[in-house]
Symmetry: C2
Subunit: 475 residues, 2 copies
Amino acid sequence: MSKGITKRSEDYSQWYIDIVLKAELADYSPVKGCMVIRPNGYGIWENIQKNLDRMFKETGHVNAYFPLLIPESFLKKEAEHVEGFAPECAVVTHGGGKPLEEPLVIRPTSETIIWATYKDWISSYRDLPLLINQWANVCRWEMRTRLFLRTTEFLWQEGHTAHASYEEAEEETLRMIRVYQRFAEDYLAMPVIVGRKTESEKFAGAVHTYCIEALMQDGKSLQAGTSHNLGQNFAKAFDVKFQDKDKELKYVYATSWGVSTRLIGGMIMTHSDDQGLVIPPKLAPLPVVIVPIWRSDEEQQKVSEFARNITRDWDPLFYKIDDRDQYKPGYKFNEWELKGVPLRIEIGPRDIQNQQVVLVRRDTAEKITLGIDNLKEQVQNTLVDIQNNLFKKAKERTEANTFTVDSYDEYKERIEKGGFFRVFLDHTNPEVEQRLKEETKSTIRCIPFEAPEEEGPCMITGKPCKYRVIAGQAY
Amino acid sequence: MSKGITKRSEDYSQWYIDIVLKAELADYSPVKGCMVIRPNGYGIWENIQKNLDRMFKETGHVNAYFPLLIPESFLKKEAEHVEGFAPECAVVTHGGGKPLEEPLVIRPTSETIIWATYKDWISSYRDLPLLINQWANVCRWEMRTRLFLRTTEFLWQEGHTAHASYEEAEEETLRMIRVYQRFAEDYLAMPVIVGRKTESEKFAGAVHTYCIEALMQDGKSLQAGTSHNLGQNFAKAFDVKFQDKDKELKYVYATSWGVSTRLIGGMIMTHSDDQGLVIPPKLAPLPVVIVPIWRSDEEQQKVSEFARNITRDWDPLFYKIDDRDQYKPGYKFNEWELKGVPLRIEIGPRDIQNQQVVLVRRDTAEKITLGIDNLKEQVQNTLVDIQNNLFKKAKERTEANTFTVDSYDEYKERIEKGGFFRVFLDHTNPEVEQRLKEETKSTIRCIPFEAPEEEGPCMITGKPCKYRVIAGQAY
């Protein structure tokens, strides 16, 4: 079986598309810019949903569902918001065979429809906080699309919370960006930098935006999740007030936060290799595949029986025995490697004699011969090892590609090769960001939370700065 | 607390809306015909999803996701399909600030976009069967809407399978209508009649449609789920062929099947009463609420501690201790009754002395005093009892309201009072259905699978029939 995957070193973009298409994660759709998420890809999304949803519920949130269609006038109620989103909207002008009185947009994000609804639900401090999340599809008309990373329609979750004070809203904004960090690191095995977006990069309508940024194998940054403190902007736009304990009427404070199917793109570009997809075990729809090896019908019967015996008490969703007889073992190895199954177990006739099996790790290609006693536990331990190793490798790569640079000339020279750049840049000056973008196609990815205090001159204007920001080219 | 719920006997429609709004299951939205599903309602939908999804996976299906937007031309490729759905479509004419070359419709159902995609995925009998399900939102422009029962946008799942033969497709169509029956009866505690739709009531584009029909408390039928054998109609429309084992190229056979958030409406109208919502325990987001009762601060501390002690090893998602001190116990009882929590546990100071608690069943209002030994098990047993009792009561009501009628005059007289009517009707004659609709506002709900062979004259035309159909007025 020829996998037909372009090498990363030859053409990284093509490699990415090859992985997505050949591992059958997603497919192009007849509608420009939209994608079909195939079962292999959707299975990963289901695991992302399941685990994130649990983390949301553990932090006190409940799910709800708000309408897909939003009156166009709603978008216009928050000045920055409409400027940011109106140009990206898909607009419904006809329904039931007739022109509509007012056009409806397909939600590009749901702040407006949700705050129009919260107005009816909130009247007293007793109604707060309101901690709601929604799993939904959204549409943003994109010029240049790429499967999972940027598509016209995508799946996501969007949290929308309402609070009695700025401090509570800020606490929530921080809590959720930390939930995203934990999820990215513990499940996607993807190390991230947590920080604040600059004014020009923040969400349209937010007071400020926090983000997690990850470094892909080609040295480009990926914004993987954002959490916005919306202050009273949407409460004012939709006139949502509450009577506080002091009997005064006040505008409600808001947050919103989201991650999307883009995370699957980030996962692919963090771990996969020239052999195909690599999925962290915690998110793998199929963690283990067992490939019995035989030369005769008699052997086939024996190895298959052995495979069934040793997996008798395993959860059926945890593994699959690949006993298809139209394919040779080598073909199967290739296929499961391509599809990113974290652990392969090979069983040949001699293994029955020795009461053993051979484990092959997807992350290292290491072969491990194991006796069948305690096999389930050993397999589970190996999966934990793989999960940890993937994170470790990604962390090391990220650190090795995080550079501290002080001169703009050096930056311009090195930026093309990729990486996170720790630099002094006056992010309060929009012209600095403008020049950076034009001259280097890069942006300030974030002002990291964990930046040590450090003084130095902005590498573009020379103005004194008190900390370094993270800059780089991004998806 | 005045619940403000209209009595069923006064105004059944208003009672239904009162339940939905006051139990905070859903709310009207600013967009006509669309609804907001509130956390209390969405929690029920999450439980429906979780259990149905498991049943789909147990029958070999996987999930995927296809685009929301469908080129208008796709709809036109299947003649009956476009006739059925085009008048109901919401149409996107602009995207990214520009008019689109071809208008896109928001999926009213996904056969067309899915079969356009299956064309690329299927070439050999080895690719079959293809067993895919999708959880999604759809839009159908409706004139008269009612929360959960008929809304412009609703949430649903739609299975779309591809098979090598008509027989396999038929087997799948039957399998899935039986899955729906099992789900309706075992989880929603809603007895259903399973049968086939008449030609005029079948899905637009299907060879035939199977359905489950339930009888609501007002005597109206609710179509609660459908499963369609699509034959080769969509394969022909989208040119999807496979090479069979005999090397011949053949068109693929298809099925599709779906249930929606309408099930929540069915659940409400099957079990709820003048006191409020009744949720079957298996689908209740909150199965148990504990209300401690106190008169002094000292008592409050003691009963709360007792409540925490007896629930120490309970799953936190299974129960809630309502120790809000701004409300009296009577207010809380009313609130949880209204919201349909299946079981309330009351704990007063004297109960601590006696090491006992009082259980109050939502379905019967029965009070049961229980010692605290083995409490968890006894609570679980009571929930099983409640689930069974709800089904039994609904089954008895359905049977008591299923009438065998032979004369059209009698039918016309009784139809207004509601019920399932077992009647002889020549369903092969469209004029019969037309007259039935015009003269009695009723329809043939289905040709039941389990109808005994029985001969008699069509009550409208007198033509001999070989079995009775089920007729009635429907939502």
